[in-house]
C-alpha cells in the first residue's frame, strides 16, 4: 500500500512541477513580450547543436552495442546453408550500416549547419532532375545485387531434399515437441488426425490404430462416451434429460457419427502393407538428436494451433500448420561438442524453440537438440526402440558386430565430409 501511495505522489508531483515551470515561462514571456510563434535565435541554435550532439550520441550507442553484443552471442551458423545465410547477412549489414551512417549524417549535419541565421535567406532550389535520377538509379543498382544474391541463396535452401537425406518428422503441440525418425527404411508412416487417441497421441496410421479409434468412437473409452452409449441415452424413455442437454448430446452424436463414417472409409481403403512404414519409425519425446554431417529432410506437423520450429543456431525456421505439412532441409556441421569448443562455453546446447504465438506457455515450448559424433550417435540409436517395439538397429545376433561396424564407418564418412569443408 505504501508504495502505491508513493507512485501516485510521484505522478502528481511531476505534473505540478511541469505546471510551475510553465507558469514561470508564461510570466517571463508576458514581461518580455515573447511570442511562441517567433522562435528566438537562441532556441534555434540550441536545437541545432542538440541535433549534432544527438547524432554523436546515436552513433556512440550504436557502436557500443555493435562491439558488445553484435553477432557474437549466437555463434557461427552450425549448418551448411546457415553459413551462406550468415555471409549474406553480413554483406547486407555492411550495406545498410553504411546507408544508416551516410544518410543520418547528412540529415543531422544539415540540420545543424543550416539553422536560420539572422538575415540569411534560403536557397530556392525546387528540383534537379539529374540529382533525382542519381538517387533513383544508385539504390536500384544496389538492390539488384541484393535481390540476385538473396534469391540464389533462397533457391538453394528451398529446393527439394535429395533421397539421401534422412527424414524426420517434428510434431508440435501446446506446449511441446516430439520427433519421429523414419527408421531403417527412411520412410515415415502415414498419419491422420482422426486417429488421435490417448494411446496414439501422434495420430499414426496403422491397421490397429484405425480399429482402436473406430472402436473408441463406437463403444467409447474411459471418460469418453461412444456412439452406442449416447444413442442408448437418447432413446431410453426412462432417462429424462433437460432440453439443452439433450440438444448437446444430439450434436455430439452427429459429430461422432461423421467421424465414425470417415474412419470406416479409412478402414475400408487402408492397405495393410502400409503398417510397415509406421512400425519401424522411432518416436523420441525428450530431444532431437542428429548426426553431424548428415543431410536431413525435416517435415513439420501441428496438432492444434500454428507453431513455428525455430532452431536459431541452425538458421532454420519453419511454421508448423495444422492440416498442412511443411518442410525444411539442412545439414548440421558442428556437433554439440564442437560448438562448446567454438563458443568456449561448457554449458552450450542447441535448442528448438517455438516462434509463433501459441498460448500462455508459448515461451516455455522448447526442446533440446543434440548433434552427435558418429560413435555417440550409434550408441544413442542402440538405446531406442521402434514403434512396434523392436530395436532400432534390428540386427540378428550373428551379424550385429559386423553391421554396426559398417554403420559406424558410414557415419564416420558422413562426419568426415564436414571436416573436409
Amino acid at each position: 500500500m505504501g508504495s502505491k501511495l508513493i507512485i501516485l505522489l510521484v505522478i502528481i508531483l511531476g505534473v505540478l512541477a511541469i505546471a510551475q515551470l510553465v507558469r514561470v515561462n508564461e510570466l517571463t514571456a508576458k514581461q518580455t513580450g515573447k511570442r511562441e510563434e517567433e522562435i528566438p535565435h537562441r532556441d534555434n541554435i540550441f536545437n541545432s547543436r542538440m541535433m549534432l550532439l544527438f547524432m554523436i550520441l546515436l552513433y556512440v550507442g550504436f557502436i557500443w552495442l555493435m562491439i558488445k553484443y553484435g553477432f557474437v552471442d549466437l555463434g557461427p551458423a552450425a549448418t551448411a546453408h546457415g553459413q551462406d545465410i550468415d555471409w549474406l547477412l553480413n554483406l547486407n549489414f555492411v550495406i545498410i550500416v553504411a546507408i544508416f551512417f551516410l544518410t543520418n549524417t547528412l540529415l543531422f549535419v544539415f540540420a545543424w549547419k543550416y539553422v536560420k541565421k539572422p538575415g540569411a535567406k534560403a536557397f530556392y532550389y525546387p528540383h534537379n532532375n539529374k540529382l533525382e535520377m542519381i538517387w533513383t538509379v544508385i539504390p536500384a543498382a544496389v538492390l539488384a545485387v541484393i535481390i540476385i544474391l538473396g534469391l540464389r541463396t533462397w533457391n538453394d535452401i528451398t529446393t527439394t531434399a535429395d533421397d539421401e537425406s534422412v527424414k524426420i518428422e517434428v510434431f508440435s503441440y501446446q506446449f511441446g515437441w516430439t520427433a519421429r525418425y523414419s527408421g531403417m527404411d527412411n520412410e515415415l508412416g502415414r498419419f491422420d488426425y482422426k486417429l488421435t487417441t490417448p494411446q496414439n497421441p501422434y495420430a499414426i496410421m496403422t491397421r490397429a490404430n484405425i480399429d482402436s479409434a473406430l472402436n473408441r468412437m463406437m463403444v467409447g473409452s474411459p471418460g469418453q462416451e461412444g456412439i452406442e452409449m449416447i444413442e442408448n441415452k437418447l432413446n431410453d424413455p426412462s432417462i429424462v434429460l433437460p432440453r439443452d442437454e439433450r440438444n448437446a448430446l444430439r450434436q455430439e452424436l452427429g459429430r461422432k457419427e461423421r467421424m465414425a463414417r470417415h474412419l470406416q472409409a479409412m478402414s475400408a481403403t487402408y492397405n495393410d502393407s502400409l503398417d510397415d512404414l509406421a512400425n519401424n519409425d522411432i518416436i523420441v519425446e525428450d530431444s532431437l538428436v542428429l548426426l553431424k554431417g548428415q543431410h536431413y529432410a525435416l517435415s513439420f506437423r501441428s496438432k492444434d494451433v500454428i507453431h513455428s520450429a525455430y532452431f536459431p543456431h541452425f538458421r532454420v525456421q519453419m511454421n508448423t500448420v495444422p492440416g498442412m505439412t511443411t518442410h525444411f532441409k539442412f545439414q548440421p556441421l558442428y556437433s554439440t561438442d564442437d560448438m562448446k569448443e567454438k563458443l568456449n562455453n561448457e554449458d552450450f546446447e542447441y535448442i528448438l524453440m517455438c516462434n509463433k504465438i501459441c498460448g500462455g506457455s508459448h515461451y516455455k515450448m522448447k526442446m533440446e537438440v543434440q548433434v552427435l559424433e558418429p560413435e555417440e550417435y550409434l550408441n544413442w540409436q542402440k538405446a531406442h526402440k521402434t514403434y512396434d517395439g523392436s530395436d532400432w538397429l534390428n540386427f540378428s545376433e550373428s551379424e550385429r558386430a559386423e553391421k554396426e561396424a559398417e554403420l559406424l564407418k558410414k557415419y564416420q564418412t558422413i562426419a568426415a565430409r564436414v571436416e573436409e569443408k
Binding site: 510563434e37 553484443y69 544539415f110 534560403a122 552450450f348 504465438i357 500462455g360
Partner: protein
C-alpha cells in the same frame, strides 16, 4: 457543381448552434478532426500504459511490482507479478490500439479531416453526415476495444494479427473467448468507420478543390491523404471479409481456416480449411496498412520541413511519384510476412523482388527531404524537430527492412525481436513523430492557441532519445535469436548462458528507456491541454506558411472562409523565391508578370 451547391448552402447557415451539435454530433470537419485527435490521444495513452506493464515484466521478470498490482488487480497481476496469459493480452491490445486506433484512426482521421477541406479550399467535407458517422463508429469501436480489456476471460491474446486457429479456439487460450469476439466486433465497426471516412476524403479531394487548385498544386499532405484513403478503400474490405470468416469459424462451425485440429483433448471435425488463407487475407490489408500509417506522417512532415526550412520541398513531382509508387507497390508485397509459413518458395521469390522495390521510392523521399534542408534557413519549431526526427527513424527503420525483405535472411530473423525493432522504428516511431509534428504545427489552426515551445523541445528530446534507446538495442536482442511475444527469457539459460545474460542486460536497458519515455509524454499531455485553455492566442499565420488553411480566420467559422472561397494561383512551396520581398508567397497570390511557376 458540388462546390457551388455547398457554397450557397453555407451562405445562410450561420445560426447559433447548441452544445450538442457543436461539440458532440458535429458535422463540421474541423470539430470532427479534433474529436478524432482527442480519442486517439486517449487511446494512445492506454496503449502506452499497456506497453509499460509488459516492459516491467520483460525487464524484471518474476519480480513483484506494486505498480502492476494497482492497475491490473489480483486477477491479472497476483502478488504484483504479471500473469502469462495477460502478458499476451497486453501485447495484443497494445499492438491493435497503436496500429489501428492511434496511427490509422488518429493520424488519418485527425489530419485528413482537418486539412483536406482547408488545404484544397473547400467549405467542408463532401458529406458532413458521413463524416460524423465515421467518427462515431470510430468512437464506438474504441469503447468496445477498451471494454474487451475488462472481460473475465481476458482480452484477445493471439497477437494483433490474431492468426487462427489460436484466435478461433477458446480451448487454446482464454482470450479467444469473449475477448476475441469483442475484438472482432470492434474491428468490424472500425473498418466501417475507416471506409466511410476514406470514401469521403477521396470524393472531397476529387470534387471540391477550389478554383486554380490543380492536382499538381496540391500540398503533399493532401497527396498523401488522398493515396492513403485509396489504399484504405481497397484493402480494408479484405480485412473485413477475413474477420467475418473468422467470426463464422468461431460461431457457425464453418471451416475456412480450420483443419485437422485436436485441442484440449477434443477432436474438432473441421476439415479442409487453411490457416494460411487467413494470413493471406490479413496481410493483404496488413501491408498496405503500414503505408496507411506512414504516408500521412510523411505528408505532414513534407509540409512542415518545407515551411520551416523556408525552402520549397525538393522534387515536388518526384515526391508525388514516390507516394503513388509506394501506394501501388504496397499491394503486391504482403507475402513477405509469410516467408516461413510453408508458402511456395517461388511465390516467396516474387515477394522478395516486389518488396525490395519499395526501397527505391523510399530512398527518393529520404534524399529529397535531406536536400530540402540543404542550404535552408531552418527554424526550430517543435513540429520541425519531430519532422526531422521522422526522417531519421524512417531511414534507420527502413534499412533493416532490406534484411527482412530478403527471404533467405528472414529465415534467421523472422518473428524475432529484430522484426519488432524494425517495425517499431519505421512505422511506430516515424508515424508517431509525424503525428506529433502535425499536432504542434496545426495546433494553432485547431484551437487558435499556441503550444509552449520550450515544453515541446523537452518533449521531443526525451521522446527521440528514449525511442532510439528502446528500439536500437532491441535489434541486437533479435539478432541474438530472441523470439517475440515471449513472457520470460529464462528459457535461454539452459542452452546458452551468454545469450541469456545479454538478453537480460539489454531488456533492462530497453525497459528503463521505455518507462522514462512513457512518462516523458506527460510533458506533451500537459502542454496540449494547458495550451488549449491558457496558451497564447495565435495569429492568423503563425509559421508564415503558404497553404490555404492559414488564410482562414483564427476563430473557426462554418464553411471555413467567411466570404468567397480563395483562388489558387501557384504551388504551395514558394518559399524564399528570389526577387521577392517576403520569404513566403501564399498560394492565393497571383503570379507576377513574367514569373515562372516553379
Amino acid at each position: 457543381m458540388a462546390a457551388v451547391a455547398q457554397e450557397s448552402n453555407h451562405g445562410h447557415d450561420h445560426h447559433e448552434e447548441s452544445f450538442v451539435s457543436k461539440y458532440i454530433f458535429s458535422q463540421d470537419h474541423k470539430m470532427i478532426g479534433k474529436q478524432f485527435l482527442m480519442t486517439a490521444i486517449f487511446m494512445g495513452l492506454v496503449a502506452m500504459m499497456l506497453s509499460v506493464f509488459f516492459r516491467i515484466q520483460l525487464g524484471w521478470p518474476g519480480e513483484s511490482s506494486d505498480f502492476l498490482n494497482v492497475f491490473l488487480g489480483d486477477r491479472w497481476a497476483p502478488d504484483g507479478i504479471l500473469n502469462q496469459d495477460m502478458y499476451l493480452g497486453l501485447v495484443t491490445i497494445h499492438g491493435t490500439i497503436m496500429v489501428f486506433f492511434v496511427l490509422t484512426g488518429g493520424l488519418s482521421g485527425t489530419f485528413s479531416n482537418l486539412l483536406i477541406p482547408l488545404q484544397i479550399g473547400a467549405r467542408d467535407m463532401a458529406s458532413g453526415l458521413l463524416n460524423m458517422i465515421s467518427y462515431w463508429l470510430f468512437a464506438i469501436s474504441s469503447i468496445i476495444m477498451l471494454v474487451s480489456l475488462f472481460v473475465e476471460s481476458g482480452p484477445a491474446m493471439s497477437g494483433w494479427t490474431v492468426y487462427p486457429p489460436l484466435s478461433a479456439l477458446p480451448q487454446a487460450v482464454s482470450g479467444s473467448g469473449m475477448g476475441m469476439t469483442l475484438w472482432l466486433t470492434s474491428m468490424t465497426i472500425f473498418i466501417a468507420s475507416s471506409l466511410i471516412g476514406s470514401l469521403n476524403y477521396i470524393v472531397t479531394v476529387i470534387n471540391l478543390r477550389t478554383k486554380g487548385m490543380k492536382m499538381t498544386r496540391m500540398p503533399l499532405t493532401i497527396w498523401a491523404f488522398f493515396v492513403t484513403a485509396i489504399l484504405g478503400v481497397l484493402s480494408f474490405p479484405v480485412l473485413l471479409s477475413a474477420a467475418l470468416l473468422l467470426l463464422m469459424d468461431r460461431t457457425m462451425g464453418t471451416s475456412f481456416y480450420l483443419s485437422d485440429i485436436v485441442v484440449g483433448g477434443e477432436m474438432l471435425d473441421n476439415v479442409g480449411g487453411s490457416p494460411i488463407l487467413y494470413q493471406h487475407l490479413f496481410w493483404f490489408l496488413g501491408h498496405p496498412e503500414v503505408y496507411i500509417v506512414l504516408l500521412p506522417a510523411l505528408g505532414l512532415s513534407s509540409e512542415i520541413i518545407s515551411t520551416n526550412a523556408r525552402k520549397p520541398i525538393f522534387g515536388y513531382r518526384a515526391m508525388i511519384g514516390s507516394i503513388l509508387a509506394i501506394g501501388f507497390l504496397s499491394f503486391i508485397v504482403w507475402g513477405h510476412h509469410m516467408f516461413v509459413t510453408g508458402m511456395n518458395p517461388f511465390l516467396g521469390s516474387v515477394f522478395v523482388f516486389t518488396t525490395l522495390l519499395i526501397a527505391i521510392p523510399s530512398a527518393v523521399k529520404v534524399f529529397n527531404y535531406i536536400t530540402t534542408l540543404w542550404k535552408g534557413t531552418i527554424v526550430y519549431t517543435p513540429g520541425m524537430l519531430f519532422a526531422i526526427g521522422l526522417v531519421s527513424t524512417f531511414i534507420t527503420g527502413g534499412v533493416t527492412g532490406i534484411i527482412l525483405a530478403d527471404s533467405a535472411l528472414d529465415i534467421s530473423v523472422h518473428d524475432t525481436y529484430f522484426v519488432v525493432a524494425h517495425f517499431h522504428v519505421v512505422m511506430g516511431l516515424s508515424a508517431i513523430f509525424g503525428m506529433f509534428a502535425g499536432i504542434y504545427h496545426w495546433f494553432p489552426k485547431m484551437f487558435g492557441k499556441l503550444m509552449s515551445n520550450r515544453l515541446g523541445y523537452i518533449h521531443f528530446w526525451i521522446t527521440i532519445i528514449c525511442g532510439y534507446g528502446v528500439f536500437l538495442p532491441m535489434h541486437f536482442v533479435g539478432l541474438g535469436g530472441a523470439p517475440r511475444r515471449y513472457y520470460d527469457y529464462s528459457v535461454y539459460e539452459g542452452f546458452n548462458p551468454t545469450s541469456a545474460e545479454m538478453m537480460m542486460d539489454l531488456n533492462v536497458i530497453i525497459s528503463i528507456f521505455a518507462i522514462i519515455g512513457a512518462f516523458g509524454q506527460v510533458v506533451f499531455f500537459f502542454n496540449f491541454f494547458y495550451s488549449i485553455f491558457r496558451g497564447q492566442k495565435s495569429p492568423q499565420n503563425p509559421w508564415k506558411s503558404n497553404t490555404l488553411e492559414w488564410t482562414t480566420p483564427v476563430k473557426h467559422v462554418h464553411g471555413n472562409w467567411p466570404g468567397e472561397l480563395p483562388t489558387v494561383h501557384r504551388w504551395p512551396y514558394d518559399y524564399s523565391k528570389p526577387g521577392m520581398d517576403e520569404d513566403f508567397i501564399p498560394q492565393t497570390t497571383p503570379l507576377m508578370e513574367g514569373e515562372e511557376e516553379h
